[in-house]
């Protein structure tokens, strides 16, 4: 196993994981339907599968790429953050139970949010994936704070195009709530003092602003040119490729490769 894993190595882990997960679900179903929990004898096979599944998830977590994704406009530090860049079928994208290493971020980091322009057909994974809208956006109630700036960049996620909107702050005591991590229903991180913190804040898309031009012109939103390996921060709306993005403004929810229709009740 390479660190970080290659696409092939990742696929091998996921194939094994999903196959064993199905077996575990079958065994679980059998045990529940075979006369009740109280009288059900312990199943060594199920326990072994559970241990194997935990091991596979740990292997996935330990070998997840931690990528240079953005740059803090206050300190010029590069933000390194975990991401599964090979597709949204990796458990990093599991909305309710994301698998990722503890994020050890620099002092200026505030929140990592994002959007994803999907290319059909979408990968199948037995969990809910919520990669955000199809075009980049900002959250005015976060970005309006004097101590917050955001940086917009892009990264491939398998065949899709990911847009990262990372919020940074020059005030460690800023009172603006952190946004949920891109693709997850919570945020979690380890600060420089070694304190593990987590929380939940996810405004609906009605509170998103997709008109980025004014934020860029106010220099509240900076941007990084796609495929710029130096992650140089750019200002001004001229030549900003992200202003031409087209796609859905709805938060996308995907399960088993399907985008649920609006109003469909989701099992979250």
């Amino acid at each position: 196993m390479q660190t970080p894993f290659s696409q092939k190595e990742r696929q091998e882990i996921l194939d094994r994981y999903f196959a064993e997960h199905r077996q575990w679900l079958d065994l679980d179903f059998q045990s529940v339907t075979s006369g009740g929990n109280a009288g059900t004898p312990a199943s060594p096979e199920k326990d072994m599968l559970a241990a194997s599944l935990a091991g596979l998830l740990d292997l996935y977590r330990r070998n997840l790429p931690v990528l240079p994704l953005s740059r803090c406009p206050f300190t010029q530090q590069v933000l390194y953050h975990s991401l599964d860049p090979f597709g949204i079928d990796g458990p990093w994208w599991n909305y309710t139970a994301p698998v990722h290493p503890v994020e050890y971020v620099m002092p200026g980091f505030h929140s990592l949010t994002g959007a994803l322009r999907l290319q059909e057909p979408v990968e199948k994974a037995p969990f809910l994936c919520v990669p955000g809208p199809g075009i980049p956006y900002v959250v005015p109630e976060i970005l309006s704070d004097d101590h917050i700036r955001a940086v917009l960049s892009s990264t491939p996620v398998g065949k899709h195009t990911g847009y990262l909107i990372v919020y940074f702050t020059d005030d460690p005591g800023v009172r603006v709530p952190r946004m949920n991590r891109w693709g997850a229903n919570r945020w979690e991180l380890l600060d420089r003092r070694g304190t593990f913190t987590w929380g939940e804040f996810s405004p609906p898309e009605s509170r998103f602003d997709f008109d980025l031009r004014s934020w860029i012109e106010k220099e509240k939103l900076l941007w990084i040119l796609p495929q710029d390996s130096t992650l140089s921060l750019r200002r001004g709306s001229a030549d900003c490729p992200f202003l031409a993005c087209t796609g859905t403004k709805k938060i996308q929810r995907i399960r088993n490769g399907k985008l649920p229709a609006t109003g469909e009740k989701e099992d979250i």
């Binding site: 590069v78 390194y80 020059d170 005030d171 380890l190």
Partner: protein, 388 residues
């Protein structure tokens, strides 16, 4: 025993693991990353580095990853040498990955004959600058005097050679129960200069300062030495009489204080600004028994040294400023009492240590965002933080 918050965390990594891991993780590199002499990646080194990495615990990996990112893309590297009472020399590199004052930093040093790097994680950069300040603070309170001069780098080297020669002659006179000499032959100065360059013994001022003076190898010739002494005489630091040289009163003040120093610090700073433009700045701080000297290499003219007496408070501000690389290091001249004369002059030492005036002219930076501050403002014009 558990580590307390703020204590440095020490890490050891083989030098030939660094580049392969930086490359493997796709870390962003900048111009300064090449300053550390690190072996290039190879298939063998890559395999060994990977095996080593996978054997690290999660916690070790987090800290090593931050250290590798800092080595790949530092915004400031400060090569630091500290000489305390001529007894020991501490040589270390300080690595800042952030443009903001007091963000986490790393100390980097070679271990095991240069095969390993020792990295110490500092939660705040001032854990290091406070240590430097303590070396300057030791001893009696530092007075300041109205003395400032700007001379070419070569002249400063000659002045330091004269100071070393004076100190040597004094030691010899003490051993011989002789009178302290006050006149030196220019031939002895030339010999001292040559010896100081040839033998890097950091117990003497000239060899200690040489790494940050960036003196060109061919700069020293009999002619250039004579011209230097003539310029020092014009500046008012020495008097020349045929082939003998003596210190004037201002020169004697400098030589006595710097020659009998308690500690000295040399800093060679390499930085990049927000646009990635590199810069370099060198500073020497010499703590005499009663005076504290600042020598900044590369003033407005790149090949000059600005020498001035400063207070401890000013030294503290200066250290903070140097380690707040909001922009590429530019020559810094600390706040100076008003009307500094172009020619060296000496005023009587103040009766008590002077407090540095906060608005004394030293460039200040926002403690929150690190941007330069305009004088008189109560709030940072960049981030709005309140300035005390």
């Amino acid at each position: 025993m558990e580590k307390r918050e703020g204590e440095p965390k020490t890490l050891l990594i083989a030098k030939d693991h660094v580049r392969p891991l930086i490359d493997r993780f796709g870390m962003v590199k900048n111009e300064l990353s090449g300053l550390f002499d690190l072996p290039a990646s190879s298939a063998t080194a890559d395999g060994a580095a990977l095996a080593w990495w996978q054997a690290r615990t999660d916690e070790e990996q987090y800290t090593f990853r931050a250290a590798l990112a800092a080595l790949a893309s530092p915004v400031l590297i400060a090569d630091t040498g500290v000489n305390i009472r001529n007894e020991r020399l501490i040589d270390t590199h300080v690595l800042l990955p952030s443009l903001r004052w007091n963000d986490p930093a790393f100390l980097v040093a070679s271990e095991n004959g240069g095969k390993q790097l020792r990295l110490e994680y500092l939660q705040k950069a001032d854990l290091f600058t406070n240590t430097l300040f303590l070396y300057l603070e030791s001893g009696a309170p530092a007075y300041t005097m109205e003395m400032k001069f700007e001379i070419p780098v070569l002249d400063f080297a000659v002045l330091l050679a004269c100071t070393d020669l004076r100190q040597r002659a004094r030691f010899r006179a003490l051993l011989d129960h002789a009178v302290f000499p006050s006149v030196y032959k220019s031939g002895d100065i030339a010999a001292g200069l040559t010896e100081g360059i040839a033998y890097p013994d950091p117990r003497w001022l000239l060899p200690f300062a040489l790494p940050v003076l960036h003196l060109k190898a061919d700069a020293l010739t009999p002619d250039s030495l004579r011209q230097s002494l003539e310029r020092l005489a014009k500046t008012g630091l020495v008097k020349i009489d045929r082939d003998t040289v003596a210190f004037t009163e201002p020169g004697e003040k400098f030589a006595e204080s710097a020659g009998g120093r308690i500690s000295s610090i040399r800093l060679d700073l390499f930085g990049v600004d927000a646009s990635g433009v590199p810069g370099r700045q060198s500073v020497i701080l010499i703590r005499g028994e009663h005076l504290l000297w600042y020598a900044g290499v590369g003033g407005k003219k790149a090949d000059t040294v600005v020498v001035t007496s400063i207070t401890l408070d000013q030294a503290g501000e200066l250290l903070k400023e140097l380690f707040t690389p909001a922009a590429a290091p530019k020559p810094v001249v600390p706040a100076k009492p008003a009307a500094a004369p172009a020619v060296a002059q000496v005023a009587a030492p103040a009766a008590a240590p002077q407090k540095a005036s906060a608005a004394g002219g030293a460039k200040k930076f926002c403690p929150s965002c690190g941007k330069p501050l305009r004088q008189g403002l109560k709030f940072c014009s960049s981030c709005g933080a309140k300035i005390s």
